[in-house]
């Protein structure tokens, strides 16, 4: 039941926040924060119970499982389940949700009720995506994230918000509908073979089908996930959406929505069609490397701070794609690590850029420079996350990228060398960001207040998590590894490597 509560709590808090807006604009943000705090506690309870659960029943795949009939006509069930992978991402979701609320604390003054309503509903959708084990239910949550996100961008965004919001919606919707066709195709093939009409994930695993059919269906799923991830060349929506969204929206977009794409690949695209995915792996790895290099080069060329961070996301998510399709345990665990670390680093960078924009009224790097003297705390914290983002040892990103490269090296040396070049490029654009913004001569004499205590506490927590991921990643790798071993398709590979 705890899984349902995680989602229902956010769904219920949304309308309450909206309605209480009339009582005063401080109500919505406190309600949002409260709901997320309770969720965080629930998720932490699940985390602490995890080890006990693993030792008791080793054969059970799920840490928590819940299923109820929903639409019997098509064998659709309301099936939520949680394993180590889901748990990590649920924790990330709630944690970033809290930071997004805090980041929006003073930025959102207009229609705060509706803002927090949308924020909570996006988060509920993301949680649902990470927990749903029925393909229909998964699709419903997948789409549920879109509409509130669309509103977040189009109402509270910056200059070109409407353009960015519509572009975001159309790109993701096109991918989603292809996935819907693939889901239905899979369901009917399964029904023809077994006579059982079902959308249940576990029952659909291992459906045998013609190789070409499997490839087409896999591509249907891949389309939706590649748009979200985003893999080049489906990334065109991302820079616009991330740049125009309000800070809280950017944090959720970069930190969470992109991860739903990666999660979908790991959970659905590969296990449901292992052979087709393996055949497709070289293409996907190539796309990953192209993303790494392309994102890094473009990030360096940006003069808009938010765009710079957005393109760095394209680059970092390229590592995730590479890791998933390198098809071995080390790279896969690296991909999961990279997802979590990138969520926190990029979330923090968007908070910092957003706060800077709130103070200066611009995101243009050319108008900045020499800001360290004015806002030293800003400079210091940004530096921490910039070097985390470039993958310096001691950060979670380092662990993630290192493991991905280690894994992919076994598969393809050439690709790995190219991907490693991305790390070099990351150093250049990350340090250039610091140099152009905080050092050098001041182009305009800004006077601005430094980071507030509220921000310092949030960012401090994010630094703590980041350092923990960098220094002691074992619990995360254990939790992920446990889940990855149970995944159909990956499972055999992962098990062999772990033993060896």
């Amino acid at each position: 039941m705890i899984l349902v509560w995680l989602i229902v709590l956010l769904l219920a808090a949304g309308p309450v926040a909206w309605l209480l807006d009339r009582r005063g604009s401080q109500w919505p943000r406190w309600i949002a924060l409260g709901a997320l705090a309770i969720d965080l506690v629930l998720a932490l309870i699940l985390w602490t119970e995890r080890e006990a659960h693993v030792s008791i029943s080793n054969q059970g795949m799920w840490l928590a499982d819940l299923s109820a009939p929903w639409i019997p006509r098509f064998g659709i069930t309301f099936h939520l389940a949680l394993d180590g992978l889901s748990l990590l991402l649920v924790l990330l979701t709630i944690f970033l949700g809290v930071t997004a609320v805090v980041a929006s604390w003073t930025e959102i003054r207009e229609r705060a009720g509706f803002f927090y309503f949308n924020l909570l509903w996006v988060l509920a959708g993301v949680l649902g995506v990470f927990l749903a084990m029925d393909l229909f239910l998964f699709f419903v949550f997948w789409e549920m994230m879109l509409v509130p996100m669309y509103f977040l961008i189009s109402v509270w965004g910056h200059e070109h918000r409407v353009y960015a919001a519509v572009k975001f919606f159309l790109f993701t919707q096109a991918g989603s509908l292809l996935m819907l066709i693939a889901i239905l195709g899979l369901m009917f093939i399964h029904a023809q073979q077994t006579g059982v009409v079902t959308f249940d994930y576990q029952q659909l695993l291992g459906t045998t089908m013609d190789q070409t059919v499997a490839l087409w269906l896999m591509l249907g799923f891949f389309a939706a996930f590649a748009v979200k991830l985003p893999a080049v060349p489906f990334h065109a929506w991302l820079p616009d959406a991330h740049t125009e969204a309000p800070t809280g929206g950017s944090v959720i977009l970069a930190g969470l929505l992109l991860k739903t794409g990666a999660y979908g690949l790991i959970r659905f695209a590969v296990p449901l069609f292992p052979d087709a995915a393996q055949a497709f792996a070289p293409v996907a790895m190539a796309l990953g490397v192209i993303g790494i290099l392309y994102g890094a080069v473009l990030a360096f060329a940006q003069t808009d701070l938010k765009r710079l961070v957005a393109y760095s996301s394209v680059s970092h998510l390229g590592f995730v794609l590479l890791g998933i399709f390198s098809w071995n345990a080390i790279a896969l665990e690296g991909a999961v690590m990279q997802m979590i670390a990138h969520g926190i680093t990029t979330g923090a960078l968007f908070i910092l850029v957003g706060a800077l924009q709130e103070r200066l009224g611009t995101r243009d790097v050319r108008r900045m420079g020499g800001l360290w003297a004015t806002v030293p705390r800003f400079g210091a914290v940004t530096l921490v996350f910039a070097i985390a983002s470039l993958g310096l040892p001691g950060s979670g990103n380092f662990i993630g990228e290192f493991l991905v490269l280690l894994g992919s090296y076994r598969v393809n040396v050439f690709v790995t060398v190219l991907a490693a070049l991305g790390l070099v490029a990351a150093v250049i654009y990350s340090l250039a960001l610091i140099q152009r913004t905080f050092h050098g001569s001041a182009n305009e004499s800004w006077t601005a207040p430094d980071l507030s205590t509220r921000h310092l506490v949030t960012l401090g927590a994010m630094i703590a998590v980041q350092v923990w991921l960098g220094l002691y990643p074992q619990p995360v790798l254990d939790a992920a590894g446990q889940a990855l071993q149970n995944l159909h398709g990956f499972g055999e590979v992962v098990a062999v490597v772990s033993k060896g």
Partner: protein, 484 residues
């Protein structure tokens, strides 16, 4: 006729009786409110008697009408939609000058025609129902005589509808010439052994499709739709878009299932062509509109195209998909035009896109209803429209209509674009616009209108979140139709 026959006909009888009562009331005691209440009561009673006639269903009443679960379901849909239109019309007409009592009598006649269509099992009742519906609509569309555009729309509808009826009659004549019967069931029996239709029969079917295509505003018979949608009073537009089209779909589905029409490949390809054209023309032309009523007109052309895709899938799932999709389409279309109707000012319908600017901040509830209706039309989950679209795609995938399904998906994305455009306008910031302050001073929504919109929104979410009961019902209907 036996007593059971009358019991089976009760919903039609009650509707007919109510229209007579309304006419007499209009003749002796003109009172807009009273007439509206009587009409609503009549429709409610007719709806309640459906459960009584369900007790004797399925029953063939004369060779003309077949009252089975299928007919009863569609009659229920039509009656509820008419009730919603009645309530919305009351709110709308009180803002207009002139006398409005006859409006309700015509509305009841049109409803009667629609129910006749849904239960027709004979060309005679088909044509009777169609003409009863059409003739009432000529007047309803042009009811607000003080303005030029309703009159223009009425004339346009009259001429084109007359022409299409002529085609329809000729088609019926050809089929009668070929088969010697006008009953659907006997036609089917005569055709039982044949693999392909004879050419005369096919020409007849093509002409019938022309007539039906006109009513459903399918491309290339769609020319009237945008003008009539725009010119007619908003509640009447809602009626044209839902009841009139729904009754026709009910008849088409029944006829095609009965005679197993898609055994003919030529016919299949023709209908597929119409479906593809309707989807693309509807959605692409909707992109160009800056008038909400025209936009919804083109969008409904596209939606009927989606519906044809389900029809083409054939088989049990197709019947279910069409019925479910149509139900969802009824709810959302009524809701969307209901909002247009509620926002209308005396002598000025809120149809320009600009009338909706910043609506979200001035009138959040109305804008909220409009938003969810548009999202449902776009097929976003948690709404009835999504389950409907899911059903259609499922039917298509089941019959391996991959090309049609991919085209449908492409169209959904195009459709999403213009629905979003309306939502963007509604969410625009009011401080940057003068028009918005004008909109803020609009009339308040009446209690009855609010109730209709709330009920429609409730149905929308209910079907979107928990469609299982309706799916079960739709399955029973399908079994009744395919079994008989």
């Amino acid at each position: 006729m036996a007593t059971e026959d009358f019991i089976a006909l009760l919903p039609l009888l009650v509707t007919a009786l109510s229209s007579l009562v309304v006419l007499l009331l209009a003749a002796f005691h003109r009172d807009h409110e009273l007439v509206a209440v009587v009409t609503s009561l009549g429709l409610t009673v007719a709806f309640l008697t459906l459960s009584v006639s369900a007790g004797v269903a399925p029953r063939q009443v004369t060779p003309l009408l077949l009252i089975d679960t299928y007919a009863i379901y569609y009659a229920g849909l039509i009656l509820v939609a008419s009730l919603a239109v009645t309530i919305l019309s009351y709110g709308y007409l009180t803002k207009q000058e002139g006398q409005h009592e006859e409006f309700y009598a015509l509305l009841l006649f049109a409803t009667l025609g629609a129910i006749t269509l849904a239960s027709a099992s004979h060309f005679a009742s088909f044509f009777l129902g169609l003409e009863l519906l059409s003739v009432s609509l000529y007047v309803l569309i042009a009811y607000v005589r003080t303005d030029v555009r309703p009159l223009e729309a009425g004339i346009k509808y009259l001429i084109l509808s007359g022409t299409s009826s002529a085609f329809l009659l000729f088609g019926m004549a050809l089929i009668y010439f070929q088969s010697g019967t006008m009953e659907f069931a006997r036609t089917a029996a005569l055709l039982a052994g044949s693999v392909e239709f004879s050419s005369t029969f096919l020409v007849g079917l093509a002409m019938i499709m022309t007539g039906v295509g006109f009513k459903l505003a399918l491309v290339p018979f769609h020319m009237w739709a945008p003008d009539v949608y725009q010119g007619a009073p908003a509640p009447v537009t809602a009626f044209v878009a839902t009841v009139s089209k729904g009754a026709m779909v009910a008849l088409l589905l029944r006829y095609f299932v009965e005679i197993a029409a898609f055994r003919s490949e030529i016919l299949w390809w023709a209908v597929a062509g119409i479906a593809v054209l309707s989807m693309f023309a509807g959605n692409l032309l909707a992109l160009l509109q800056s008038n909400i009523k025209r936009l919804l007109a083109y969008s409904s052309i596209a939606h009927l195209g989606y519906l044809l895709v389900a029809l083409l899938a054939a088989g049990p799932l197709a019947v279910e998909a069409v019925t479910f999709y149509l139900t969802a389409y009824f709810i959302t279309t009524l809701g969307a035009f209901g909002v247009v109707s509620v926002l209308s000012k005396p002598g000025d319908e809120s149809e320009a896109m600009e009338d909706y600017r910043s609506l979200f901040w001035n009138r959040p509830w109305v804008a909220g209803v409009f938003t969810i209706m548009l999202l449902s039309l776009a097929g976003i989950p948690l709404t009835a429209g999504f389950i409907g679209k899911f059903y259609v795609i499922a039917a298509g995938v089941d019959s391996s209509l991959w090309v049609l399904i991919v085209l449908l998906v492409v169209n959904s994305v195009i459709g999403l674009f213009y629905y979003l455009r309306v939502i963007v306008v509604m969410a625009a910031d009011e401080r940057r616009d003068v028009r918005a302050t004008e909109n803020a001073q609009a009339l308040p929504v009446s209690y009855a209108d609010g109730l209709v919109l709330a009920a429609l929104s409730g149905c929308l979410f209910w079907l979107g979140l928990y469609p299982a009961p309706l799916i079960r019902l739709v399955q029973t209907i399908q079994r009744g139709l395919m079994g008989s």
